[in-house]
């Protein structure tokens, strides 16, 4: 598949089989009824914690808030050293250096949003320099947003070339491409955007910025997991998936893991290939974990406010 022109991209993306909306919704709903209990639940909770991209993307973020969040990312429950670290922290570019300083060599990665997050409304030069700045500050991963306006108006080549340019600016850093599925309107568009992002060189495809509702719904994640599975079969390259936004409870997180296992397969059940973009879910995971350890229901008074 070569992306020489908008017409050839369009022909390819619109040649992808359509998504059966009712079928996707029903399958996601069916898989979300799986009951995961006791030792399997414990394993799932630890796996989910190790897949969390602990995120703070507020206008009001301060250096202190980022430092506190990074400390929590390394030791989610300071009282229990058996709790794994999270996969990464996710911050704005100007706070990358601060985050890098705290996580150090703990193995927790530093991810940064870039490219005029969250709207993506800026020139390519600004987006590339935004990316280069974050990489220079020490980011291991870049979360870029696609230009939804261009995508929806059919200018696939523009989106494709932007992703390629940002990928080039990333250098060694991994590139996650945010599709913002809440603005894409249909599951067919989600499938097309997934393929477009993967063809252009994205290492991860991510559902949402977290600023638009609906964010990471189960059916949308299902469609994206199917896309990475098919992409591996066709193009021979493995791409990761990151649902982000709206994942608040342990139950939500475990539903996502079931979906991964049943759609893309157990090969994706690894923090290198699947991430959960969230912030509030971590405390719920820790509370559920404590319930399994102590046998008593945990209370939020005993976990950090963040």
């Amino acid at each position: 598949m070569t992306a020489s022109s908008n017409a050839s991209l369009r022909a390819f993306l619109h040649g992808l089989p359509g998504v059966d909306r009712v079928g996707a919704d029903a399958r996601a709903a069916m898989l979300s009824t799986r009951s995961i209990k006791t030792s399997a639940k414990r394993q799932a909770i630890d796996m989910a914690i190790s897949m969390v991209d602990l995120t703070t993307l507020e206008g009001a973020d301060t250096r202190g808030k980022v430092r506190a969040m990074c400390a929590k990312a390394v030791h989610p429950d300071p009282a229990d050293p058996t709790v794994p670290s999270v996969a990464a922290v996710c911050v704005y570019p100007d706070l990358v250096a601060e985050a890098r300083d705290v996580v150090g060599s703990s193995g927790v990665k530093v991810a940064s949003v870039a490219t005029a997050f969250p709207s993506g409304r800026s020139t390519l030069e600004v987006k590339v320099s935004d990316t280069a700045f974050a990489v220079a500050a020490g980011a291991d991963e870049i979360d870029m947003v696609i230009d939804r306006g261009a995508f929806l108006s059919g200018d696939y080549l523009k989106v494709f070339e932007e992703i390629q340019a940002v990928k080039a600016a990333c250098g060694e850093a991994h590139l996650k491409v945010i599709l913002e599925t809440g603005e894409l309107a249909t599951y067919d568009n989600v499938r097309r955007a997934s393929w477009l992002a993967m063809l252009a060189g994205g290492d991860f495809i991510k559902t949402s910025t977290g600023k638009v509702q609906p964010a990471a719904t189960l059916p949308v994640t299902l469609v994206m997991l199917e896309a990475v599975r098919d992409f591996l079969a066709v193009e021979g390259r493995k791409v990761g998936v990151k649902p982000a936004g709206g994942i608040r409870t342990t139950k939500d997180a475990i539903k996502m893991l079931v979906l991964v296992n049943e759609t893309a397969g157990p090969d994706w059940l690894d923090p290198d290939w699947f991430r959960l973009g969230a912030s509030s879910v971590l405390n719920d995971l820790l509370m559920q974990r404590q319930k399994l350890t102590t046998g008593r229901y945990a209370g939020p008074d005993y976990f950090t406010l963040d």
Partner: protein, 287 residues
Amino acid sequence: MSERLSVRKTYKLYIGGAFPRSESGRSYAVTGAKGEFLANASKASRKDLRDAVTAARKAFPGWSSATAYNRGQILYRIAEMLEGRRAQFVSEVAEADGVSGKKAGELVDAAVDRLVWYAGWSDKITSLRGSANPVAGPYFNLSTPEPTGVVGIVAPPMGPLFGLVSVIAPVIVTGNTCVVIASERAPLPSITLAEVLATSDLPGGVVNILTGSAAEMAPWMAGHMDVNGLDLTGADAELAQKCEELAAENLKRVLRPGGKTDWAADPGTARMTAFLETKTVWHPIGI
């Protein structure tokens, strides 16, 4: 013309202002004082309890920061609504306790009066328990009572309405929210009371009522780290001891069962003060 089918009430739980069935799908048969079948009640599980605690916690900031005057008005409103459904309560209490209609009527009246009595306390308890303290320094030093938080209540097995109202009212009038495990033997009036609470301007989640086995649920409530106080009035000695041990983990305030309680006696302020904490503030003078 065929005979009209009777429309029987489904007794469910009361959690967060809604009436859900038990998550477990369980129910149990409730019998009257003479052993006759009355109705099936939901048998709540520990997950229903957990949901109820979550609802109570969510309701706490709003309820505890409402003005004392407003809380008093709402308690009075509960009394009004209870009075309006007097006939229904009289028949339910008579069936559950096996007492005469006259005696049941007196018990319902007493429950209404008890609510009115506690409603009056809402803006007075602070004056009684708070103080301006003389200190050796340039400060105004003020102590005020504050609600403890979420209180778990094991309701008394006897007195399905009067006893229940007598344990709920003192807890909520000061700004606490609560999760109540209703009398296992006679749970039906508690759910009818929930219908009164739901239509009395009481915010959802301030009172949550579960029916089922106290022995099954109370230990989970006592161990729950997000419950701040425990009223064991309805627990037997063995259950009370177990609950007290579990409650020690996060230093819950515990009101021990005091043997057989005479609900008709003057209750005093003890049930209110058991779930109040004193906050003392030092205001510098002259800065």
